[in-house]
């Protein structure tokens, strides 16, 4: 039994379009809440084993004299706090610890301070790795599907390369939209972990697209591409059990990380779960649909 899937591509494209639109709007309106690894700055997490901290003013008052720029203090549990401010040197760091010790014996759980230079470098690196990875994938797919160029027509394999890239762009935009929304509503930061999540989804999304493309390639080579729509639909149907097998399993493995990891790992895992889902979705809604873009069948 075959489901008519690719025939409904207009509906899928509309849904994808709406999701992309929401992501872009969220990105444009709220932007990303960049972490200190991009902007430079300091994050300091402390704990008071013996004092109850129920008001962040207590800490702010102690730090007042040090005139830390852009200071925010966020309470964590009843005994801890996370402070953010501009990047500082070691001397100021020690002064902060001395000041905090006036409230009670303080335990420094983590301290991270970096200049804006590192952030610029990270931004550059992230940009280049996404561009480079995308190009490599484009060329690899075009090369790997080169048989189709011989059988069907010159340059056919590039359509597959670009289809994979479009699906990828879809997924990256959804991820960025996710971080923009989460940044606005839940103060989730866009940091190097977020970059890692996006890059992984990039690999995973192509993975999924290629499984479907691989079937299409095989079916075209054995049955010919006269009725492309039917061949594509057949291929999606043949791979759909695999998609329904792999995607939830991967998401469950990721959710295991989410449940047991710390706060930052949890955001990361959540983003990955979203990415894996949209990766599976875009393989059909974008990548497979694109093969039919502006044509009905092949001669």
């Amino acid at each position: 039994m075959f489901y008519k899937i690719i025939q409904k591509r207009k509906i899928f494209l509309t849904i994808s379009g709406v999701i992309i639109l929401i992501s872009l709007v969220a990105w444009i309106i709220w932007g990303l809440k960049l972490g200190i690894d991009f902007t430079g700055g300091t994050i300091m997490e402390i704990r008071y084993p013996s004092v109850k901290i129920d008001n962040n003013q207590l800490i702010i008052d102690q730090l007042n004299d040090l005139k830390l720029e852009n200071l925010t203090v966020q309470l964590a549990g009843y005994d801890g706090a996370i402070m953010r401010f501009k990047d500082i040197n070691e001397e100021t760091h020690q002064k902060i610890l001395t000041a905090l010790n006036k409230i009670g014996a303080v335990e420094e759980i983590s301290f991270q301070s970096m200049g804006p230079m590192i952030g610029r470098e990270l931004t550059n690196k992230a940009r280049w790795s996404v561009i480079l990875a995308t190009l490599c994938i484009l060329f690899y797919v075009a090369w790997s599907f080169r048989k189709l160029s011989k059988v069907i027509k010159q340059g056919e394999s590039w359509r597959y390369g670009f289809g994979a890239i479009l699906a990828l762009a879809h997924d990256i935009i959804v991820m960025i939209g996710f971080y923009a929304l989460m940044g606005h509503f839940r103060h989730v930061e866009f940091n190097s972990l977020a970059i890692t999540a996006i890059l992984t989804v990039l690999g995973y999304s192509v993975n999924d697209t290629i499984v479907i493309y691989d079937r299409i390639r095989e079916n075209i080579l054995t049955r010919g591409g006269r009725n492309l729509e039917e061949v594509i639909n057949l291929s999606i149907n043949e791979t759909i059990t695999r998609s329904f097998g792999t995607t939830p399993i991967t998401i469950f493995a990721i959710l295991a990380v989410a449940l047991f990891g710390g706060a930052s790992t949890r955001d990361f895992a959540f983003a990955m779960a979203i990415g894996v889902t949209t990766g599976a979705w875009s393989s059909v809604s974008i990548a497979a649909s694109f093969l039919l873009f502006n044509r009905k069948g092949l001669k």
């Binding site: 040197n89 070691e90 760091h93 335990e107 759980i109 983590s110 301290f111 991270q112 301070s113 970096m114 200049g115 230079m117 470098e121 550059n124 690196k125 790795s129 480079l132 990875a133 490599c136 994938i137 690899y140 797919v141 790997s144 190097s192 972990l193 970059i195 890692t196 890059l199 992984t200 990039l202 690999g203 995973y204 192509v206 993975n207 290629i210 499984v211 691989d214 390639r217 095989e218 043949e238 059990t241 695999r242 097998g245 792999t246 399993i249 991967t250 469950f252 493995a253 990721i254 295991a256 990380v257 449940l259 047991f260 990891g261 710390g262 790992t265 990361f268 895992a269 990955m272 894996v276």
Partner: protein, 541 residues
């Protein structure tokens, strides 16, 4: 050999590999096992985020060093820092250099250190020693020139934006100056420069300022060698002897000169390659006609050779000894010195000479460094993360195995065994390579689990197809694998490409993730193609 025998041979190989990995993985191997000591010695390398510790990132300043010698100079700095840190008694410090674009960084990782303050102070106090010779003043490279031009263009834009604000009728000039001006001398006073007459200021500035009416702000930016000025004339008066004087404020946005600043001592002196890197020892001595305290330096072999070459080509000419970027002594070379010894005679008192010789003895840096990033992780947070990640890994694996068995029955059991072997092999690789395990590296491993499952699922789906097509026996398995292979190959290849890029371009966290994910993909290819197939062939009825 028959096909069946081949299968059994492969099976035995797989079992042996599994046993080997298992022995590497378990923390304590019983002593009756051969080589148990070696197996027990293999340790998991935990990153700072898991075991607690400090990471310091230093930016190096290599602008005065020729391109081809930068790498060596930074490596030299790395060695000096390592010597210092070892001297401090930190267990297993990890110090490495990292290059990005044209900038070199030194990353210092100190596991489990408590007194970070002292470590930073100690590294920061490392003197920078260089020997330099005279040469043609350095020219800006075209890249440097372009960078500076870009900077100036941006400065002009910024200055124009501020000018617009300053020209609004309700503008508060002093507040703008306080906020934006880059003139440290007048910024705090709201840009106020006080009273001044003619010839007190740079010409362009004076012309523009005197042309203004009282209370007026310049309509255009005034450009001088300092940068862009926005000038406001506050008041004017005549002095007793009839000279004009005005009171003015300004906002300065600095620009960078496109010429080398000749007054900077760094620019006249050329890099020779002889630095603190080649220093063997330093001690205080007394010398000269008046028995002044001096610091005597002794070079190592390389330094001795370099020093004799430098003195040979500079006989009759001065050679400068730079300490922390400042020429502290510029002796004139009288003859070639081959003994590998040099003397710094500055205006030292005994205490200074003694301190300097001690600092130099502990190691002197060939390049200037600056702390740009610091990260401390308390040990309690680290421990918590290790336990959590371990539990997460085990649960992830179990969840996947249960799913596979529920979905695919017998095939699921085979896949689960393959996955277990996969996990064991990966663990062993982490220990043997070694791979430093951080939170993100563990995340990479767990994602690769998903990929490993995918390969198995693809194969099983294909086998089902082949069965449906009416095939049976080993042909089903062989054809199933063959048909699944192109998809597995292409999907894993793209993931590997991404991993390679992450590993190559990423730093720290991202890099670890790319490494474990990439290793996981490679291992999963082995377990899915070789292990699963072998087990299926042997045990499938």
């Amino acid at each position: 050999m028959s096909q069946s025998n081949k299968n059994w041979t492969l099976f035995i190989v797989i079992v042996l590999i599994t046993i080997f990995c298992l022995l590497v993985d378990i923390p304590r191997v019983p002593s009756w096992v051969p080589f148990s000591r070696w197996f027990t010695k293999q340790k998991i390398h935990l990153g700072l985020d898991l075991q607690g510790g400090t990471q310091l990132i230093y930016q190096t300043d290599t602008s005065n060093i020729p391109d081809d010698q930068r790498s060596a100079a930074v490596e030299g700095a790395r060695d000096v820092i390592e010597r210092r840190v070892n001297f401090f008694g930190v267990s297993e410090p990890l110090i490495h250099t990292a290059k990005a674009a044209n900038e070199w960084k030194i990353v210092v990782e100190l596991p489990g250190i408590k007194n970070v303050k002292d470590a930073i102070k100690m590294i920061g106090e490392t003197p920078i020693l260089e020997f330099r010779e005279q040469g043609a003043p350095k020219q800006l490279t075209s890249q440097e020139k372009k960078d500076r031009e870009n900077y100036n263009k941006k400065a002009e834009q910024r200055a124009n934006d501020i000018l617009k604000k300053a020209l609004r009728p309700d503008a508060d000039f002093a507040a703008l100056a306080k906020q934006y001006s880059e003139d440290d001398g007048s910024k705090a006073q709201g840009g106020d420069l006080g009273w001044f007459g003619k010839d007190a200021m740079i010409q362009e500035f004076e012309k523009a300022a005197f042309a203004l009416k009282k209370g007026e702000t310049s309509k255009q930016l005034v450009e001088t060698s300092f940068g862009y000025h926005i000038i406001k004339k506050i008041d004017e008066r005549k002095t007793v002897d009839g000279k004009e004087e005005i009171m003015a404020s300004h906002i300065l946005i600095k620009t960078q000169s496109l010429e080398i600043d000749l007054s900077d001592p760094q620019s006249q002196w050329q890099y020779t390659g002889l630095t603190g890197k080649q220093l063997k020892s330093a001690q205080m001595t007394f010398g000269g006609d008046t028995n002044e305290p001096e610091v005597s330096l002794e070079f190592n072999e390389e330094g001795t050779r370099l020093f004799s070459e430098i003195t040979q080509r500079n006989v009759g000419k001065p050679v400068a000894i730079f300490l922390d970027g400042v020429p502290i002594s510029v002796p004139t070379v009288r003859e070639t010195i081959t003994g590998g010894k040099a003397v710094i005679s500055g205006d030292f008192n005994i205490k200074e000479a003694k301190e300097l010789s001690q600092r130099l003895s502990a190691g002197a840096l060939p390049v200037a460094i600056q702390l740009v990033s610091q990260q401390n992780i308390g040990p309690s947070l680290g421990r918590l993360s290790v336990n959590k990640s371990f539990v997460a890994g085990v649960i992830g694996l179990l969840v996947v195995m249960i799913f596979m068995i529920v979905f695919y029955g017998f095939y699921g059991v085979i896949a689960s065994i393959a996955l277990l072997i996969y996990a064991l092999i990966n663990m062993a690789i982490y220990k043997l390579l070694p791979v430093t395990l951080t939170l993100s590296a563990i995340a990479g491993f767990i994602i690769s689990l998903g990929m490993a499952v995918d390969a198995n699922v693809l194969i099983f789906e294909r086998i089902k197809d082949e069965k449906r097509a009416g095939k049976f026996g080993e042909t089903v398995i062989n054809d199933g694998f063959r048909h699944a292979w192109t998809a597995i190959r292409d999907s894993n290849a793209t993931t590997l490409i991404t991993c390679a890029i992450l590993y190559y371009f990423g730093s720290g966290l991202v890099r670890g993730f790319g490494l474990t994910l990439g290793l996981g993909v490679l291992t999963s290819l082995f377990t899915a193609i070789t292990v699963s197939r072998n087990l299926l062939k042997l045990f499938n009825k």
